[in-house]
């Protein structure tokens, strides 16, 4: 089964995402900010990265850029979790190399169907 990295500074959101994914049989690794996420992504391989946008230390957009610069993550799906309904953040995320996004609030079912779009 695929291994997923979930990056979010909010513990409850991270727990929710992680719990939902684990229930579906995915292996999940958590990181509390972009910097930690990048470091974890470098030390092991993930099939999918799900990251929050607004985080301390390193935000989600920067994390996407950093990941895309790594050969190992050139094609890896990266999803942004965003509350910004505005087009701006999504565009910024896409330009940074994000695969897609999921708008908060979302429920576990929405999360899983979004993931199905990028992981078979």
């Amino acid at each position: 089964m695929a291994t997923i990295l979930t990056v979010d500074d909010s513990t409850s959101m991270r727990q929710m995402v992680s719990f939902t994914l684990k229930q579906s049989g995915f292996d999940v690794v958590e990181a509390a900010d972009g910097a930690e996420g990048l470091q974890k992504a470098q030390s092991s391989r993930f099939n999918l990265v799900i990251t929050d946008v607004n985080m301390p230390k390193m935000d989600g957009i920067t994390l996407v850029k950093e990941l895309r610069a790594l050969p190992a993550y050139k094609f890896t799906p990266i999803l942004l979790l965003t509350t910004e309904a505005g087009i701006e953040k999504k565009k910024e995320g896409k330009e940074a190399g994000a695969t897609g996004w999921l708008v908060k609030p979302f429920n576990p079912d929405q999360l899983l169907s979004t993931i199905k779009k990028v992981l078979g």
Binding site: D9, S10, T11, S12, M13, Q15, M16, F19, T20, Q23, S24, G25, N54, M55, P56, R68, K74, F75, T76, P77, I78, L81, T83, A85, G86, K91, K94, G97, A98, T99, G100, W101, K104, P105, F106, N107, P108, D109, L112, K116, K117, V118, G120
Partner: protein, 680 residues
């Protein structure tokens, strides 16, 4: 799938309260003119997380409110709006509102909806009501549907480099209707020229479905800038034809089997979903523990298991030659047990910043209310303290800080007239000292006025006109019940809940509070607290056949009583002359109705202890060892007993009572009401 989101509520509430604290302290920094972008970002991030979480976990009232809050913060963050005092105050009030709403959620209680509404209106007024609700704008999209759609999908070369896969998108289209797909290979170069990272294919997709165009656009949402997409309605007759025969001469991609695989996955997903968990009640509370502390525990438990199995093996066929090895093993066991105990205790320890954090706001609000200029200094915030002690010290600390603000620190004009800087300083400090935590509250205010305290104490009948008291004793008077010197009963303090309550609360925690002051220069209140309530260092003593435990912190010294120093006074009371002091003797065997080895004080030992500001000498038969004891409550297991604060279980399994020194002092006072000048 049936995931019960309420299992995350506790975590969400906990992190939200932390977020609110961060917002509050950052806002107070902004207030001080420190409007750097990182501070604003931090505030925004906290509000943003609370909004996202509350919407996700179904706290809609919080989500609605924080949405407005976030909009304002976003304008501040992007520089569209300057930080004014008005905005800071409105934001601080918002923090209170959100906190109230979340507390109501946590405690299953109500909050002041009118207040929330008022603050929300205020925020909206600042925003100028120019915020059009965003959600309503994209509703009016074209809703023309047809029998089907012809989708011309030409990915750009770099599309797969963002992790998007055209085949997956096509597969998703199949979930909303029947599709027929033609791949266009025109742009496919020779193998030698092909770049594996580029996407050369394009597709023409016929979708037979009655969905709206918007539903199709949604599927392509992530890639709309990375492809050329053309969607148009299918001609009706073409649609009918194609449904009958999906064969066409061009290359076709058959996606159906894969879709079935996906469906199977979905099924297994649903089967694995656990039944909804029972709702967590939130009672008992929780603490966040650093992973390093948990690792340490696991490590220690591992060591214990190893030692235990080593000893177990030795015990199976024990030879006397192994005795040394066994002693080694036992001492190892002892060491690990002690380390384990210390680690477990550390889990309950939190930095005192948790208690200190509320003061910046308190000082900010009160100083403006009182028209005073006050700078709050915090130090030693990382000093750790047991969670229970921390919770119980919160209110006394607030009381003491309010007192300093209200009575201690002066208004700017008085300060200037006294030749002091306009801004007063209130300093909260914490540090560890010999198994205790010391908290100091220092102000550079007016200090205590000895004459006024004296006069007040005389008028309250606490002392007589003729009594001569040391400075220490005078300051101590303010901790007496019913004492208050504030001339005007203010909104803040001096409402009868006095320093006596503060002292009593601190004593209940096994701590002490005292004050030193210098008139015109300020005061320092020092609180001494045990690091934990669960374990203490005890001195074991024997009275007759019983073993008692005296808290080591309260012992001054132990001595063999000299006959000539024992004085009998009226009412059967006895005092012991120690250097220049006369100390009441308490015969423990009388207090607890026991048969002692000897009833003659000079045959036993006197343990001098201090509590409630007085010393007493406890008459015991023998001093036993000293050891750390785990305190068990007597009240929850039996009932309250005068002179006993709790019980513990000794190594041999017997129960020993822990003496309540302060209680014994009060008992002895009641019994003798002795005065030093009555001594013969």
């Amino acid at each position: 799938m049936g995931i019960d989101l309420s299992q995350f509520h506790e975590t969400f509430l906990e992190e939200s309260f932390e977020g609110l604290d961060v917002m509050e302290s950052s806002l107070l920094n902004l207030d001080a003119g420190e409007s750097d972008s990182e501070t604003v970002n931090t505030i925004f991030r906290s509000a943003h997380s609370i909004k996202g979480g509350s919407a996700t976990f179904g706290f809609d009232n919080v989500a609605t409110f924080t949405h407005v809050l976030e909009t304002l913060l976003d304008e501040v963050r992007s520089g569209d709006r300057d930080v004014t005092q008005d905005i800071v105050n409105a934001l601080l009030e918002s923090v209170d509102c959100v906190r109230n709403m979340l507390e109501a959620q946590r405690d299953n209680s109500n909050y002041d909806e009118a207040q929330v509404k008022a603050v929300q209106t205020r925020l909206e007024a600042i925003l100028g009501n120019d915020e059009v609700s965003e959600e309503t704008t994209d509703v009016a999209e074209e809703s023309n549907s047809s029998n089907g759609w012809l989708i011309d999908f030409k990915p750009h070369l770099n599309m797969i480099q963002t992790g998007n896969d055209p085949v997956r998108i096509i597969r998703e289209l199949e979930s909303i209707g029947v599709i027929s797909v033609k791949a266009n290979l025109e742009k496919l170069p020779d193998l030698a020229e092909m770049n594996a990272e580029d996407c050369y294919l394009s597709w023409e997709i016929e979708l037979y479905s009655d969905v709206d165009e918007s539903a199709i656009r949604e599927i392509f949402e992530w890639v709309e800038d990375e492809c050329d997409l053309n969607i148009k309605p299918l001609q009706t007759e073409v649609a009918a034809q194609e449904i009958k025969s999906v064969d066409s001469p061009s290359i076709k991609t058959e996606v159906k089997p894969e879709v079935e695989v996906v469906n199977k996955n979905e099924e297994s997903v649903q089967n694995k979903a656990t039944p909804a968990r029972t709702k967590s009640t939130g009672e008992g509370g929780s603490i966040r523990v650093g992973i390093d502390k948990v690792d340490e525990l696991i490590n220690l438990v591992g060591e214990l298991v190893i030692t235990q199995s080593m000893l177990g093996e030795m015990g199976q066929n024990f030879e006397s030659s192994n005795i040394e090895k066994m002693m080694d093993g036992l001492s190892q066991l002892e060491r690990h047990t002690r380390e384990l105990q210390e680690s477990v205790m550390r889990i309950r320890m939190l930095p005192i910043s948790f208690a200190f954090n509320r003061f910046p706001r308190l000082v900010h609000d009160l100083s403006s209310k009182l028209g005073k200029k006050i700078e709050l200094k915090l130090s030693g915030e990382s000093t750790e303290l047991d969670k229970t002690v921390m919770e119980k010290i919160g209110d006394p600390l607030v009381h003491l800080v309010r007192n300093s603000l209200d009575h201690g620190l002066e208004t700017p004009d008085i300060r200037l007239a006294a030749g002091k800087p306009e801004t007063g300083i209130l300093h909260l400090n914490a540090y560890h000292k010999g198994g205790n935590i010391i908290i100091e509250i220092t102000d550079d205010g007016a200090g205590l006025n000895k004459d006024r305290i004296r006069a007040k104490a005389i008028s309250n009948g606490l002392i007589t006109e003729s009594e001569v008291l040391t400075d220490e004793k005078i300051y101590d008077l303010i901790f007496q019940p019913g004492f208050s010197t504030a001339e005007a009963v203010s909104d803040l303090s001096g409402r009868g809940v006095g320093m006596d309550v503060v002292r009593r609360n601190i004593r209940e925690l096994g701590g002490a509070v005292d004050i030193v002051s210098s008139e015109g220069k300020g005061s320092t209140i020092t609180i001494r607290l045990p690091l934990t309530l669960a374990i203490m260092d005890g001195q074991l003593v024997r009275v007759g056949k019983e073993t008692y435990i005296i808290p080591i912190v309260s012992i001054i010294e132990s001595l063999q009583a000299k006959k000539e120093s024992i004085n009998k006074i009226v009412d059967h009371a006895e005092v012991y002359k120690l250097r220049d002091e006369y100390i009441n003797i308490v015969r423990l065997y009388e207090t607890f109705d026991l048969v002692p080895d000897s009833t003659d004080v000079s045959n036993g030992l006197l343990v001098m202890v201090e509590g409630e500001g007085s010393k007493i000498g406890l008459f015991v038969d023998e001093l036993l060892g000293q050891q750390q004891v785990v305190i068990k409550s007597l009240e929850t297991n039996y009932r309250r007993i005068e002179g006993v604060s709790g019980a513990t279980i000794l190594g041999d399994g017997t129960v020993a009572m822990i003496l309540d020194v302060a209680g014994l002092v009060v008992l002895s006072r009641a019994k003798t009401s002795v005065n030093e000048d009555k001594v013969a």
